[in-house]
Amino acid sequence: MHMADALVSPAVGGAMWVASAGLIAGCAGQVKRSARENVVPLMGVLGAFVFTAQMINFSIPGTGSSGHLGGGLILAVLLGPPAAFLVIASVLTVQALFFADGGLLALGCNIFNLGVYPAFIAYPFLYRPLAGDRRHSARVWAAAVMAAVAGLQLGAFSVVLETRASGISDLPFGTFVWLMQPIHLAIGLVEGLATAAVVTFVARARPESLYQSPAGSAVPGGGKPVLAGLLVAAALMGGILSWFASTHPDGLEWSIARTSGRAPVAEAKPWPAVSAETSGTGLKGGVLTLLLAGAIGLVLRWRR
C-alpha cells in the first residue's frame, strides 16, 4: 500500500515528511544511546532480510491464495520500536530510490503509514501485552494477528486520509475506505500469521535474539516519554497540516467554481494554465515543448 507521488499534494507530502523526519531523528538518537552493541550491523542485515522475505510467498490455508511478510511487526519484535522504525524507513527509502516504489514526495507518508503504526502502536500496545513472555503458545499467534491487522488497518486508513487531503484522486471517501479496509484486513491476517510463524521458530531456535524491552517494564512503551511526545506532536502536525491542505486544494476551488456556473475559460486565473488546457494553444505548446526538450537532450548527448 505504497502511496505514490502522483497522488500526494506538496502540503500533505511535506507535512508527512516533516513528521517522519522528526521521528527518524528521534529514533536515531535513541538507537545511538541504546546499549545493544551490535545494533548497527543487525539493523542493516535485518533490513535486507525483510526485503528478501517479501519475495517468498506462502499459501493461506483454505483460500487458495498466497501472501508474504510485510516486515514492520517482525522488526519490532526483533529490534524494539525505535530501531525497527529506522529499518522500515530505510527499506522504504531504498524501495523509493531503486525500485520507484512510491517516489520521493510520498516517502514521508509511506514511512509514517508503514512504520509508525506497527512499531509504535501495534507492537507496544497490542503485541507485547497480548503475547506476554510465553513465546511458544497460541497467544503469540493471536497477538501477532491482532497487532498486524490493527497496524495495517490504521495504515490503510491513513492512506485514504492522505489521498483525500491531497485532493488529486476523485475516488469518493466512502468508496475508497470500502476498497482499502477489507483488502488490508486480509493482508493483515496474512502478515500476522507469517510474523507468528517466524517468531515462534526463532523463539525455539535462538530465544536471545528477540527484543527484551528495557528493564523488563510491564508498562507498554514505558520509560519513553520523549518518543511518545514526539509521536503525538508529529501526529498533530500531520493532522493539522493535512486539514489545512484539504480545505485549500486548487482542485476543490475549481470544482466549486464549476458548480457555481462560472465558465472556467472566462475565470480570472490564479494559476494561468488551468484554462490553457481548454484552448488549442496549451496542447500545441505542450507537444512543442516536449519536442524541444527532446532536441536539447539529443544535442547534449551528442556533444558529450
Partner: protein, 268 residues
C-alpha cells in the same frame, strides 16, 4: 519481486560509476535540485497537462548528460506504475464534466486529471531514479548526511544496501533448493514457510554477529566515519542555481502555453 530486480539495483550503481558530466555534479546539489523539481511538479492543480511539459527538460538533459539509457529507466518506472494507475483510473468515471475540446472531441475533467496524474508520476519517479543512477547510494548517503540526515540513518541505508545482495542471494539459494525438490514457490505450506524464513532469519542474525565482530576487530567504537564530501565547485553552484531558476520560472509562467501562443500568433 523476483531475482531480476536485484540485477537492476546493480545496474543503477553501475551507471553511477560512469565518468559522465551528470555523475560529476555534487550529490548534495543533485538531491536539492531533485527535491525542488518534485515539489514544483506536484504543486500544480490537478487538471494541468501542458504546463508540465517544460519539466521534461530536466530528466531528458540528465539522461543525456549521464549516459543513462532511457528505455531501461522507462521500464523501471512502468514496473512501479500499478498503484498510481489503480487510483487515478477512477477519475474519468467520477469526473465527467467536459473541460476541453480538441476539435470535435471533448475531453472530460476526469481524463484530464488522469493524464496529469500519470505525467506527474512519470516525472517524479523518473527524477528519483535519475538521482540514484547518476549519484550512487554511497555518495548520496554521504551527501545527505552532510545536509543534516542523522548519521545513524545514513549508515543504516548503507548497510541495508550492502547486505541486500548477500541476504537475497542466501534466500535465493534456499528457495532454489526447495524448488529442486518440487515445492511450489508461489505458495509454500505454512510450516515450510515458517521454517524457511526462520532459517533465513537465523542466518541473517548470525551474519550480523560476524559482521559486528569484524567491525570490533578493527576498532569499531560505535561511530562509523564516512568520507567527507568535497566542497562545492563553481559548476555545482551553476547547476543548482540554473535548474532551480528554470523550475521556478516554469512554475510561474506556463512556458508551453507561451510557446504555443507565440506559434499560433506567428502562423495567423
Amino acid at each position: 519481486m523476483n531475482a531480476g530486480h536485484w540485477l537492476e539495483v546493480d545496474r543503477l550503481e553501475e551507471l553511477a560509476r560512469l565518468e559522465a558530466p551528470a555523475q560529476r555534479v555534487d550529490a548534495r546539489v543533485k538531491a536539492v535540485v531533485t527535491l525542488v523539481f518534485v515539489v514544483c511538479v506536484m504543486s500544480y492543480s490537478r487538471y494541468q497537462v501542458s504546463a508540465l511539459m517544460p519539466f521534461f527538460l530536466y530528466p531528458i538533459a540528465m539522461l543525456a548528460r549521464g549516459r543513462i539509457p532511457a528505455g531501461y529507466l522507462f521500464r523501471k518506472i512502468l514496473m512501479a506504475a500499478p498503484f498510481a494507475l489503480a487510483v487515478a483510473v477512477f477519475n474519468p468515471f467520477f469526473d465527467r464534466a467536459p473541460m476541453a475540446a480538441l476539435g470535435p472531441v471533448t475531453i472530460s475533467g476526469g481524463w484530464l486529471s488522469f493524464a496529469s496524474v500519470m505525467l506527474r508520476f512519470l516525472l517524479t519517479v523518473g527524477a528519483a531514479l535519475i538521482l540514484v543512477a547518476c549519484t550512487g547510494m554511497h555518495r548520496l548517503c554521504a551527501g545527505l548526511e552532510s545536509l543534516g540526515m542523522p548519521r545513524v540513518f545514513a549508515v543504516q541505508l548503507l548497510f541495508l544496501h550492502r547486505y541486500l545482495f548477500v541476504v537475497a542471494e542466501e534466500g535465493g539459494r534456499m528457495t532454489r533448493s526447495l524448488e529442486m525438490r518440487g515445492a511450489r514457490l508461489r505458495a509454500l505450506p505454512g510450516r515450510v514457510y515458517g521454517s524457511l524464513l526462520g532459517h533465513l532469519l537465523m542466518r541473517a542474525l548470525a551474519r550480523a554477529d560476524r559482521v559486528y565482530r569484524a567491525m570490533v576487530a578493527r576498532g569499531f567504537d560505535g561511530e562509523i566515519r564516512l568520507l567527507r564530501p568535497t566542497s562545492l565547485r563553481g559548476s555545482d553552484w551553476g547547476f543548482l542555481l540554473g535548474w532551480t531558476a528554470f523550475f521556478v520560472a516554469a512554475r510561474i509562467w506556463n512556458l508551453a502555453d507561451l510557446l504555443g501562443g507565440l506559434l499560433s500568433g506567428g502562423v495567423s
